[in-house]
């Protein structure tokens, strides 16, 4: 029984890099007399060929170049574990984090210690030993930035206070009494459990965002990062691919890392609750909130529900805007209308600013004051982001039909018809549709509603291509890879 592979472990940031899959693999060649590459910069070698422009459009171009030059054929492969990978530990917020550089190996060459960069199916490169220090320094720095940035944009203390306010209002407790109540312990079977834990009301601490292990190594399909979904008390792992790291370098902030740290936080994305809401959207929204890169909104698959809501509530048609900015001359070449870009960019930044408020003041407090209720709601509608769609309506007046007033008139006039349609739709929700065989085979036994992490490949891959891509995935290799990765916890320091 080798099922639920994806259900349990992997959430994947999957914005890009699908198109290259049709390119045939390049033959791998190793030079016979290896040369050690001298790197005079303080930056690790990974970033030497990249620029980190301040301007959004420049960034988009730079990101495009990154993915264009990336040898995607190699991306189907997973890295191989050995006991030569360098690793180190550091302590942040009283938590020890171990980092393992999977794509690097420590070697001795002509009596000298060298570092070999050896990602799967790419040409290896040799560096002097001090390259490792640079990698360690940069990664430690980036994790610190990611953590502080997350803390800054989410303002978890405020979210926590809003959740409590909401509970006070709804249940009629006094605040002090409520806190007492949430901390009350009751006996469930052999466990002492706090009321807070039963109701799944989160308590935020900085260190909860930190995993126990970070594995830096290339992932298949150009996946930029991944994280295990977990529970308090268990070891948590974040996978961070050099491609993702390079992407973060261009963006100027470790977005991919931030995204994965949200998944790693068991207060907000605990098993099995996390299967029942659009956890990817939650993780991605925190990236959208981290200013500078609101352009996520145009492309990111995880933000589809946000785009649609933005259209309905803010009248901004993201799809139309994207069409006007990017025009495709052939399938692989497009032109950018810079004027339009700048115009829409200002609007998108306005939207991002508004969404920032929405996420902190409505989305988190509403969802996390009654998480069990909202996941049941998603299940009923068989739609992992149904809660988000509802919350938008609690917060904003729709404007899509020529302004708020007209839209409201229309809706009131058609209330009865809308309810009739709703009734029929509710009945249909949850009806099973065709599923790629391979996926069904791997995940049989799991509920189809709501569709989220479990069935991610189906809604992350582009329609029409999903089936082919899912069937081409090497499940066996994935399983082996995970097994080897998690084995690191047994071996302790030996690796």
């Amino acid at each position: 029984m080798l099922k639920q592979s994806f259900k349990f472990a992997i959430t994947i940031l999957f914005i890009l890099a699908i198109g290259g899959l049709s390119v045939p693999p390049e033959p791998v060649q190793f030079t016979s007399s290896p040369q050690v590459f001298y790197n005079p910069s303080n930056l690790p070698h990974l970033f030497l060929d990249l620029r980190a422009p301040k301007e959004t459009l420049e960034r988009i171009i730079e990101v495009n170049n990154l993915f264009s030059s990336y040898l995607i054929p190699s991306a189907r492969r997973f890295g191989k574990f050995s006991n030569l990978h360098p690793s180190f530990r550091f302590v942040l917020e009283d938590k020890e984090v171990k980092v393992l550089f999977l794509d690097w190996i420590e070697l001795e060459l002509r009596g000298e210690k060298v570092l070999k960069y050896n990602p799967p199916n790419q040409l290896p490169q040799l560096f002097p030993q001090n390259e490792l220090e640079k990698l360690k320094r940069k990664l430690t720095q980036d994790i610190k930035i990611a953590l502080n940035e997350l803390w800054k944009i989410l303002e978890p203390e405020n979210i926590e206070a809003s959740i409590l306010d909401k509970l006070v209002k709804i249940y009629g407790f006094e605040k002090r009494k409520l806190l007492e109540e949430l901390d009350k312990e009751i006996q469930i079977e052999n466990y002492q459990v706090k009321v807070r834990e039963i109701l799944q009301i989160p308590k935020f601490e900085k260190k909860d965002f930190l995993p126990d292990l970070i594995i830096v190594g290339e992932l298949p399909f150009g996946i930029l990062g991944a994280a295990t979904l977990s529970l308090e008390g268990a070891k948590r792992v974040v996978f961070y691919s050099p491609l993702g790291w390079r992407f973060d370098f261009i963006m100027g902030k470790p977005y991919i890392l931030m995204h994965e740290l949200v998944h790693a936080n068991t207060q907000i994305q605990a098993l099995p609750l996390v299967y029942y809401f659009h956890a990817e959207m939650f993780a991605e929204l925190s990236m959208l909130m981290a200013d500078i890169y609101p352009f996520e909104l145009f492309f990111h698959g995880y933000l589809e529900p946000v785009r649609r809501a933005v259209w309905n509530y803010f009248s901004f048609d993201v799809r139309e805007a994207a069409k006007q900015i990017f025009s495709f001359s052939t399938a692989r070449v497009y032109t950018i209308d810079e004027e339009k870009f700048r115009k829409f960019h200002i609007m998108v930044q306005e939207i991002a600013k508004e969404l920032k408020r929405f996420v902190k003041e409505r989305l988190y407090p509403e969802f996390y004051s009654h998480p069990l209720y909202w996941v049941a709601f998603n299940t009923k509608l068989c739609q992992s982001y149904a809660f988000f769609d509802l919350f938008m309506g609690l917060e904003y007046e729709p404007t899509i039909l020529d302004g708020a007033e007209n839209t409201k008139k229309f809706l009131l006039k058609h209330e009865k018809v809308i309810l009739e349609i709703a009734k029929k739709a509710l009945k249909k929700a949850g009806e099973k549709k065709e599923t790629p065989e391979k996926l069904e085979e791997e995940l049989s036994g799991f509920s189809f509603c709501p569709q989220d992490l479990v069935w991610w490949p189906v809604h992350v891959f582009p329609p029409g291509k999903a089936k082919e891509l899912i069937n081409s995935l090497s499940w066996q290799e994935l399983k082996l890879f995970l097994e080897e990765a998690f084995n690191l916890f047994e071996g302790g320091d030996s690796r």
């Binding site: 006094e174 469930i188 268990a234 609750l273 029942y276 497009y334 599923t435 084995n487």
Partner: protein, 503 residues
């Protein structure tokens, strides 16, 4: 200025819908709406429909989430689904290995216990809903002990104002208070309001008591003896029986001649042997079964069942509400067949145990089999078949000279045996098809009467021949210090195999 870029990647452009393996609400909504509205109108209508169904407006026109828009059953279904997710992870060999590496097994088991706890509370609420619906009364509201008015307690300004056809599920609604451990479920007693009011006003009268010891089917009026006894742990339970007690609401203002009960309580009673001469009777403190008359019924038809024994944790909290039988007076429970079976079913009910098979790592074995190794078959074969070489079944008048045995292993009945004890012959029978498929909790024999207790069904009782196939599949007999087994494996009445075992 326009720039040209080579794009090696496929940018996922916004699409109206996500593709998935099951129909989503939004998808179905747009499909339904496409002939009535433009895409923009559909979108506005979609978002609005969520508000109509799952939120409500206050006096100022502000929308608020309605935590009672789902049914209790909706939430219960999701909790069940989560429990099966954990179960799926823990019963897969591969994932369990990874889970253990990540030290995730214990946290998962803890989470499972919490979810089970939540499920129990939701199931309890579901039972409450079912009970009051069957009785025909409103389901009691859950309440928190708080000082301030809150909308969930019926106060404050949060009053649902919107009425819609879809939201008339009324009492079946989910109440978020059910998840708060502070709401003590033991306070809810599953008593119809008309009964508790009658009790308060002194209008509930006892109709009488009835004793029954089911093994001998005797009815004794021994309640007075039992009443004066105090339980002691040293005592041994000798026989189990029932005390059936009936009540009726009698209102002097309403003439009511019929002696039809409104409440029937059934207690377990034990006949205890203190010493050779003294028998005492003891009853459990609370009935395991209480029947009430629904408001529209002419007999007691709604039964609340608590299958737990006093020493178990769930004792005092009902497990089931059923309506399988109607009873007018206590005697009906023991004189009518179906009603009696109903009584027996629930008094002996055993909860199915939830047990997960934790996969073990496969043991590696070394087994070398040499070619041409000696093959031994202990059986002899004959086409005409083997027979018992003597008469062991007597003539009709002595037909009864056999005993019956039954072999039950792990819920399956392996065989039923007729033992012709005078000649030492044992016939083994398979159950008839309709009985063979079932899983059994217990099987008992009294003389030639076989009593089977299928899991989750009424027990069945009857003469052994009712249950077994007409011909035995195996006969064992003894000749000259040898035990002989003959066997018929294809049910053609010919015993084609024989095996002789020296004694």
């Amino acid at each position: 200025m326009r720039r040209k870029l080579t794009l090696l990647l496929l940018i996922i452009l916004p699409s109206t819908l996500l593709v998935g393996c099951a129909t989503q609400y939004d998808e179905a909504f747009f499909e339904e709406a496409k002939n009535k509205f433009t895409p923009e109108e559909s979108l506005a209508a979609y978002y609005y429909s969520l508000l109509l169904l799952f939120a409500f407006q206050d006096d100022k026109g502000m929308w608020h989430a309605d935590y009672r828009a789902l049914t209790n059953r909706d939430v219960l279904a999701t909790v069940n689904s989560m429990l099966s997710d954990i179960d799926n992870i823990l019963k897969s060999k591969f994932w369990l290995r990874l889970v253990r590496r990540l030290e995730l097994e214990q946290p998962l088991l803890r989470k499972e216990a919490i979810l089970r706890y939540i499920r129990e509370r939701l199931a309890f609420r579901e039972l409450m809903i079912k009970f009051y619906k069957l009785i025909g009364e409103a389901v009691p509201e859950l309440k928190l002990e708080t000082n301030n008015p809150a909308y969930l307690n019926g106060g404050g300004s949060y009053k649902p104002t919107l009425k819609s056809t879809l939201r008339e599920e009324g009492s079946e609604k989910f109440d978020p208070l059910i998840l708060w451990p502070t709401v003590d479920l033991r306070k809810f007693k599953f008593v119809p309001t008309y009964i508790s009011e009658a009790k308060r006003e002194g209008k509930l009268y006892k109709l009488g008591d009835l004793f029954l010891f089911d093994e001998e089917k005797e009815v004794k009026s021994l309640y007075e003896i039992a009443k004066n006894q105090t339980p002691s742990e040293k005592l041994e339970k000798v026989r189990e029986g029932y005390l059936i007690r009936a009540f009726k609401v009698i209102d002097p203002e309403i003439p009511n001649k019929k002696q039809v009960a409104d409440v029937i309580e059934v207690f377990r009673v034990f006949e205890i042997k203190l010493d050779q001469e003294t028998l005492i009777y003891q009853r459990e403190p609370q009935p395991f079964m209480i029947g009430y008359r629904g408001l529209k019924s002419r007999s007691v038809n709604v039964w609340v069942i608590d299958i737990d024994r006093p020493e178990e944790t769930g004792y005092g909290i009902p497990n089931e509400v059923v309506t399988q039988v109607n009873i007018k007076v206590p005697r009906d429970l023991i004189t009518k067949e179906v009603q009696y079976a109903f009584l027996i079913k629930y008094s002996r009910y055993e909860k199915p145990k939830e047990k997960r098979e934790i996969p073990e790592e496969t043991e590696i074995k070394l087994e070398i089999v040499r070619a041409g190794g000696i093959k031994v078959d202990p059986w002899e074969y004959s086409e005409e078949g083997f027979k018992v070489p003597f008469v062991y079944k007597e003539k009709e008048q002595e037909e009864w000279k056999f005993r019956v045995g039954v072999k039950l292993e792990e819920g399956k009945i392996l065989y039923v045996e007729k033992i012709w004890y005078r000649k030492g012959v044992r016939e083994k029978f398979n159950l008839k098809e309709e009985f063979a498929q079932k899983e059994y909790l217990d099987a008992k024999v009294t003389n030639k009467i076989l009593t089977l207790h299928p899991k989750g069904e009424f027990s069945i009782e009857g003469h052994v021949d009712l249950f077994i196939k007409p011909l035995p599949f195996e006969i064992t007999y003894e000749v000259e210090n040898n035990l002989v087994i003959i066997r018929d494996e294809n049910e053609d009445g010919i015993f084609e195999k024989r095996r002789v075992i020296a004694k």
